[in-house]
């Protein structure tokens, strides 16, 4: 009987730790990286993404793969239905050894560049990404940023290739079974996700 009390304490401690993990898991799914939101002319909200984001192990690994790493930012006004999407695409061109980057902001404004070095990429990355156009003097936003390991076009190319039985068959003669079973499974799943809440005043 004398030993039962510490043992119960151990069990309770383990249970509390397990409960803590269960409670924290959804929070851990979204990484907490500090970022800054800025108010721009025309009641536009922009985000300043930290350079440390590109240096994170998972992201860094995919950046140099030759595939297009895609960053999708979705901004949604709190207590409002609609959301707008902005996108950043980064691909390392292995032949010319340059970074091919593209930034598409919420209003369709596009910026394409060919950057000669990693330093230039970091500098370009730090430029504000325009996310949202507010209607009032104050806006509260929920912003999520998802990092995908390849672009839609690259996923589609791989899907078509595998559905043609490894590229050996003639175009269009792929097995429908392989297409249905394997081809449709190919999709870019997020390697990292971030979520922020921001309140911006334009006064």
């Amino acid at each position: 009987m004398g030993n039962s009390s510490p043992r119960i304490g151990l069990y309770v401690g383990a249970l509390i730790r397990a409960a803590g993990i269960v409670v924290l898991l959804p929070c851990l799914a979204f990484a907490q990286t500090k970022t800054t939101f800025v108010a721009q002319p025309g009641r536009v909200v922009a985000i300043l993404l930290p350079a440390t984001m590109l240096a994170e192990r998972d992201v860094q690994k995919h950046l140099g793969s030759g595939l297009t790493t895609t960053f999708i930012a979705v901004a949604q006004e709190r207590d409002a239905g609609g959301s707008v999407t902005s996108r950043i695409e980064i691909r390392y061109d292995l032949w010319d050894e340059v970074w091919l980057v593209r930034r598409i902001e919420f209003d369709g404004r596009e910026d394409r560049q060919r950057l000669p070095s990693r330093d230039a990429l970091d500098k370009w990355w730090r430029a504000p990404l325009r996310l949202y156009s507010a209607h009032g003097d104050q806006v509260s936003l929920n912003v999520t940023l998802t990092v995908l390991p390849f672009s839609v076009a690259e996923g589609e190319d791989a899907r078509q290739w595998i559905s043609k039985s490894g590229g050996l068959a003639a175009p269009g003669s792929g097995s429908p079974l392989v297409t249905a079973l394997i081809g449709t499974t190919i999709s870019a799943k997020a390697i990292r996700s971030y979520r922020w809440n921001a309140s911006i005043s334009f006064r």
Partner: protein, 149 residues
């Protein structure tokens, strides 16, 4: 009264046995499929394949530096190898999901076919036990009836 209880118990036991056999056969099938599918996909995704393709990329770049006249040709070769590497990388990223769907579909199909086969065999055996003709029973019965007119 005793007999009435005995027959359903037997039936339940044989049904349970059949179900266990079906589950065991499906599990065995999944095990085989899991090994084969993993092997088939991993052949293409082996690190040696990737390394060989990456070496080929480096070689094309080195050739470009040595033989400027054929730069376009080396670039073309480089791009096709690079595309292949990209495709393999996309498949590697989706490997687990692809295998899971492939295996689940095949195992589901196997379980369905095996279940249908077992049901058909069971009903045939029951028919035989009762003394009925298993196929086209009503038709056989009509043809065997003596002409009553």
């Amino acid at each position: 009264m005793e007999r009435q209880h005995f027959i359903p118990m037997n039936r339940i036991r044989s049904l349970a046995l059949l179900l266990i056999a079906l589950i065991a056969a499906t599990a065995l099938f999944w095990l085989v499929i899991h090994q084969i599918a993993g092997l088939w996909l991993d052949v293409a995704l082996r690190p040696e394949v990737r390394q060989a393709l990456e070496r080929s990329l480096d070689d094309q770049k080195r050739l470009r530096a040595l033989d400027d006249a054929h730069q376009d040709e080396y670039r073309q070769r480089f791009e096709s190898t690079h595309t292949l590497l990209n495709r393999l990388e996309v498949i590697r990223i989706n490997r687990a999901e692809m295998l899971q769907r492939f295996e689940l579909t095949l195992v589901g199909l196997f379980a369905l076919v095996a279940g249908a086969a077992v049901t058909a065999l069971r009903s045939r055996a029951r028919d035989r036990k009762v003394g009925r003709a298993p196929v086209c029973a009503p038709l056989t019965f009509i043809t065997r009836m003596p002409f009553s007119g």
